[in-house]
Structure formats: C-alpha cells, structure tokens
C-alpha cells in the first residue's frame, strides 16, 4: 500500500513537466501550429530559470535569500526565455510562413543546445566562484509544500504533498480547457486552427490568435522545464538531464486527444509509465529488462495513435489545418 502511494506520488511528480509541456503544445496545436520545438522550449525555459536564480543567489549569497524573490525571479526569467523561443517560432512560421516541422526541429536543436551550453558554461562566463550549478536554496523555496499534508496520512500524501507548481500545472490545464470550450476566445481560436480562411472571413485576426496562443503555449511549456530543475532535480543542473520528456509531452497531446483537461490524467499516467521500471520485478528479471520497460510510454502512444486513426471519430481528430501555414491570398 505504501509502495502504491509512493508510486502515485512519483508519477505525479514525473508527470508535471509533461503536463506543462502538453498543455502548451495543445494550445499551440489548436491554433493550427504543430510546434516540434517544444522539447527545445522546455530546455530553454529550464535554463532561463536557472540563469535567473543563479545570478540572484550569486548576488545576495545563499544565506540571505528572500523566498518570494527566489521564486519570482526564476519564474520571470524562465517565462521570458520561453517567450523569446515562442517568438522565434511564431515569426518564422506565422509571419514568414516557414515550414513548421523544420522550424520546430531547428528550435529543438537550438533550445537543447542553449540549455546544455549555458548549463555547462554559465560558471565560466559569469566568472563566479561556485563549483557547480547547485541552486539548493532556491530549490527549497520552490519545494515548499503545504504544512498540514503530513498529518493527513495517505490522503494528504496523495493530494497535498506537492509543491505549488504541480497545482499550477493542473489549474492551467483546466483553465485552458474551459477557455477553449466555453468562451468566445476559445471558439475563435478553434476556428483559426480548423479553418483559418473561414475565421479570417468572419473577422477574426488570424495572425494575432496564432501569435498569442503559440507564445502563451511556449511560456507554459517552459514552466515544465523550470519545474524539472527546481523541484525534481533539486536545483542541480545536469546536461541532458531533462532527456526526452519534451517529446513525451508532444506524444501526450495525441493521447489526450487535444483536450487540456484530459492531459492531466494522461500526464500522470505517462509519468507512471516513465518510472514503472523501478517498480516491476518479475522472477528471473534482470536489470537489462528495465530498458525494455522504459519503452512503455512510447509504445502506449503508438497504440493510441493507431486506435484513434482507425476509429476516425470526428471529435478525436487533430485540428484540420494543423501544420499548414495560412496565407490570405492563397485560396
């Protein structure tokens, strides 16, 4: 029982970066843009947060840090970093109408490179005397949990034991879902993603919607990177540590059939699949079989992808103009 609770807790923690990433990607895809740059944006969000926290800790010293500023500064720099990444993507794909797949892949190369580059060279560039990027003080601020969680037993552990960014992720996902399905802005946004020409004819500013949602989506995704370093990795940057989670976030979009609220359980499930190899032990199973269990998230995505394509349900299809750039005069 204890192990199960621990497993679910871990799954939620693993799932949170994925939830940020997939919510961001869903919003972007709803505007008709397949942003394959999400993995890079998540790296950029992570490293921008690290840079902010690094300079703050370096300046005032780890001992006299203001907890509120220690959270706000990385949060702001992280969002700024991923916003810039989103703007690069938007400028190329919306304004210059470049191919989205190529732009996205280039953005991922760039973003992952940016993360690992600054992660590996920040200390040298800034001339600081820190031996490595260990922002444990900042991380402690990020990791603050509700005080009464421990006293509520299993229930508290399951629902209240997480740091604030976990709840932020869930709230963002649910709010996005409501906006998409229940408001006029959401309706317009969906129209832009389904058929921009029609939306344009109805007087909707297509490019503005595309820019706003892609940039907001990028900022949300970037928070996933920030959560990963500050909470999961306890403020210690290790190059390549974030791994392929960005691509998993892209995969969850399909699993959640383009619904942010569905991304919440989907992310937790994928978080669980991501770590399930630690928990499975069959008789005669060696350590090498763990490598096969690590395939699970990808296999599950494939199965979902195939099933949704076979069923051809209209509700579970991607936005119709996904991946196509819109040019008003081309009709």
């Amino acid at each position: 029982m204890n192990m199960l609770i621990q497993f679910i807790q871990r799954a939620v923690i693993q799932g949170t970066p994925l939830l940020f990433g997939s919510t961001g990607e869903i919003l972007t895809e709803k505007s008709g843009h397949l942003n394959l740059g999400i993995p890079g944006i998540m790296y950029a969000g992570a490293i921008s947060g690290v840079i902010g926290a690094f300079f703050y800790e370096d300046k005032v010293g780890a001992a006299n840090i203001n907890p509120l500023l220690a959270i706000l500064i990385p949060l702001a720099t992280s969002m700024l970093g991923s916003l810039l990444m989103g703007l690069i993507y938007c400028f190329l794909t919306v304004t210059l109408r470049a191919n989205q797949n190529v732009t996205g892949l280039a953005l991922t190369t760039f973003g992952v490179g940016l993360g690992n580059f600054f992660g590996g060279s920040l200390i040298k560039i800034s001339g600081s005397d820190m031996p490595a990027i260990t922002l444990s003080t900042t991380s402690k601020c990020f990791k603050t949990t509700l005080p009464f969680a421990e006293s509520l037993g299993a229930f508290g552990k399951l629902f209240f034991s997480y740091s604030f960014l976990v709840y932020v992720a869930i709230i963002i996902a649910i709010v996005s879902s409501v906006i998409l399905n229940r408001t006029r802005i959401g309706l317009h946004l969906r129209a832009v993603g389904e058929n921009p020409a029609t939306a344009d004819a109805a007087g909707i500013n297509v490019n503005r919607y595309k820019y706003f949602t892609t940039c907001i989506g990028s900022m949300i995704a970037g928070l996933g990177g920030l959560y990963y370093v500050m909470d999961y990795a306890s403020g210690i940057w290790s190059n390549g540590g974030f791994g392929d989670r960005g691509w998993l976030a892209v995969a969850i979009v399909i699993f959640a059939i383009w619904r942010p609220n569905m991304a919440v359980p989907a992310s937790i499930l994928f978080g669980g699949l991501f770590i399930v190899y630690n928990y499975v032990s069959l008789p005669g199973m060696g350590i090498e079989a763990q490598e096969l269990f690590k395939m699970l998230p990808y296999l599950v995505t494939l199965v979902v992808l195939i099933i949704t394509s076979m069923r051809e349900k209209r509700e579970s299809q991607p936005p119709q103009s996904l991946g196509l750039s819109y040019f008003r005069e081309e009709r």
Partner: protein
C-alpha cells in the same frame, strides 16, 4: 493599416541566381549574428573566432577527414529521408531507422564472429543493416497507407523504441561493468570497412558520393521519382492519373529505410566499430533540415550538409579552446538554420507597397 502587403510570387518566378543570392545573404547574416554571439560570450575578437573555426574544420589532415566523414554520414541520412519528404511523408524517424541498421551491423560483428572472410562478412552486414532499417521504416508507412495514421508522431515514437532496444542490448552485452560495448573485433578487424591507401574514411565518402548521384537520378529521371513528386504535390492528382498512392508510400518508405540502415552500417562498420545509444548522434533530425534546405536536391545537399558540419566542427573548436561547453555548436547551428529558413520567405513572397486609397 500598414503601408505594405505581401504577395505570393508565382512558382519559379524568382530567377535561380536571385534565390541563391538571397540564401547566401541569409547565411552571411546568420554568420554575422553567430559571430556577435561568440564575441559576446568569449570576449575574443571576431577574426580570431573565424580563423579558429576554419582551423577546427580544415586545420589538420585528421580534422579534414573527420569533416569529410561528418559530411558523408549526414549526407547519407539526408539522402535517405529525401524521397519520403518529397512525397510529403514527414519521416522524423531516421534516427531510429539508422540506429536499427547500426544495431544489426554490430550484432553481425558480435555473433557471426570471426568465422567468415571479411568481404562476405561486410556483405552480410550490409544486407541485414538495410533490412533492419527498412523494417523500422515500413511499419509507420503501412499504418499511414492503411489508416492514414499520423506519420510524424509514429516515426518519432519509433526512434525511442529503437533507442531502448539498443540500450537493452548494451545492458546485456556490455563489456565488464563499463556499461557500454567496447570496440568489436578490435584485433581481427572482421566486419570493419577496409581503409583505402591508409584513409579509414575514404570508402565511406566514395559510397555516399555514389549514393548521391544515384538518388539524384532516381528522383529526377525515374518513373518512381516522378510518382513521388506527384504524390507529394497532390494526392488527389496522383489518384486521378492512376498512381497507387498506398503502394508509392510503402515503396518509398522502404527505400528510405534501406538507406537509413545503410547509414547505420557505415557508422558502425566504417567509423565507430561499436554501437551505443548515440551512434547516430542526432543526424536523423539534422538530416531533415539538410534535405529541406536543399529543396530535396541531392547535389545541393552536399553543400548544405557541408555547411552544417562545418559550423558544427568549427564552433566545436571555438568552444573547446575557450573552455565552453560543446553544445555551443548546436546554438550556432540553430541560429544559421533560422536564418536560412527565414530567407525562403523572401524567395517565395514579395513585399509590395500599398497603392494610395481611391486609385
């Protein structure tokens, strides 16, 4: 309103030399931004940075060969993905397809052992590698042809499944407790590509060059190439003129996979002589940009892959000398690619001033 609007140029309206001027201008502009970034980060003067880059790419004979090998390998994967892209089949699974090819080659070297003569061994390896790559590529193609399953995400997932399979084999056959597989057949050199005139990579380069010519002819002059182009332009047209779209999709992906498998073979047999998760080193993704930047023209791809590998090796040298992280080259490559991607707009569209109201 703004004082200008954007007009699409009709296809091929831009003369080729203007198009190339625009592209070269974009690369120069990108290089300028890269230089700026480098100067800011390292504090060295731009001339020094530039000479370091050139040195890093061409400085010694060894570096030159490493550059050539880098170009050949990237080009090989790019050639492999090109027919599929021309068909608008977004295969981003070249990484996995090549990795499976590499795994097959490494498995042959390990399990057939040293009982075969080298030429027969190499033949067996080529065949199994290409088959492995083709199998990995045809699975998404079958689903795409039958149920129109999204190939971008399908092939992406296949990458990670391939990587985990390789991890599994590495776990099982790791040498000692090192967690990786050592160079295979280090003493007998069975299954190693022979070096010509003492140049280990020369054969690789020759094979890829021959492949480039083959792919150019295949795409431009063969019936297959024509069918690929029509399916890529419009599936409905293809159906109308009696092309079996499903067959073309599956056939083209098999070719794509065969060549990816070959790339994996060349990397394992011709360079690394072992297999690891990073054998392909992201080339599967970079290849997409190489192919797209060259507008799917295999000959131009020599140029684009040279460009990317040059920046990679050059900025690698800069980061090494300045004590910066090696990922610096990814940042530089990213910036250059952004500029080239952006430049396409000025080739395909033109910006016109608005005429005055009431005219």
């Amino acid at each position: 309103m703004l004082g200008f609007h954007v007009v699409k140029r009709s296809k091929d309206a831009t003369p080729w030399w203007i198009a190339w001027l625009i592209r070269i201008g974009a690369i120069l502009l990108g290089a300028l931004v890269c230089a700026l970034v480098t100067v800011v980060l390292t504090g060295k003067d731009p001339i020094y940075v530039f000479t370091t880059m050139v040195n890093g790419a061409f400085g010694t004979e060894r570096k030159l060969w490493s550059l050539l090998q880098g170009i050949a390998m990237l080009l090989c994967v790019s050639l492999a993905v090109t027919p599929a892209f021309k068909m608008k089949f977004w295969n981003i699974g070249a990484e996995g397809q090549a990795l499976m090819g590499g795994l097959a080659a490494a498995a042959c070297m390990m399990f057939i052992g040293e009982s075969l003569p080298n030429w027969l061994m190499l033949l067996v390896m080529v065949v199994t590698s290409m088959l492995a790559g083709a199998i990995w590529a045809v699975i998404p193609a079958l689903f795409k042809a039958r149920w129109n399953t999204n190939e971008t995400l399908f092939t992406l997932m296949m990458n990670y499944i391939a990587i985990q399979i390789v991890s599994y084999f590495i776990c099982v056959y790791a040498t000692g407790g090192s967690g990786k597989i050592d160079v295979i057949n280090a003493s007998s050199h069975i299954g190693w590509m022979p070096s010509i005139g003492g140049k280990a990579y020369l054969l690789n380069v020759i094979i890829v060059l021959a492949l480039t010519v083959f792919m150019y002819v295949y795409l431009k002059y063969s019936k297959h190439g024509y069918e690929i182009a029509v399916v890529g332009e419009s599936e409905n047209t293809a159906k109308y003129i009696g092309i079996d779209v499903r067959k073309v999709i599956i056939r083209t992906m098999i070719i794509s996979g065969l060549l990816c498998g070959l790339a994996g073979f060349l990397l394992v047999s011709g360079a690394d002589h072992t297999i690891s998760r990073d054998t392909i080193a992201g080339r599967g993704f970079t290849a997409i940009m190489v192919s797209w930047l060259a507008k799917f023209n295999p000959i131009v791809m020599i140029l684009t892959s040279f460009l990317l590998v040059f920046f990679e090796k050059g900025s690698g040298q800069v980061s090494q000398i300045c004590g910066l992280n090696a990922s610096f080259s990814d940042v530089i490559t990213g910036i250059i690619i952004f500029f080239i991607i952006g430049s396409e707009f000025f080739i395909n569209f033109k910006i016109m001033k608005n005429e005055k109201e009431g005219k």
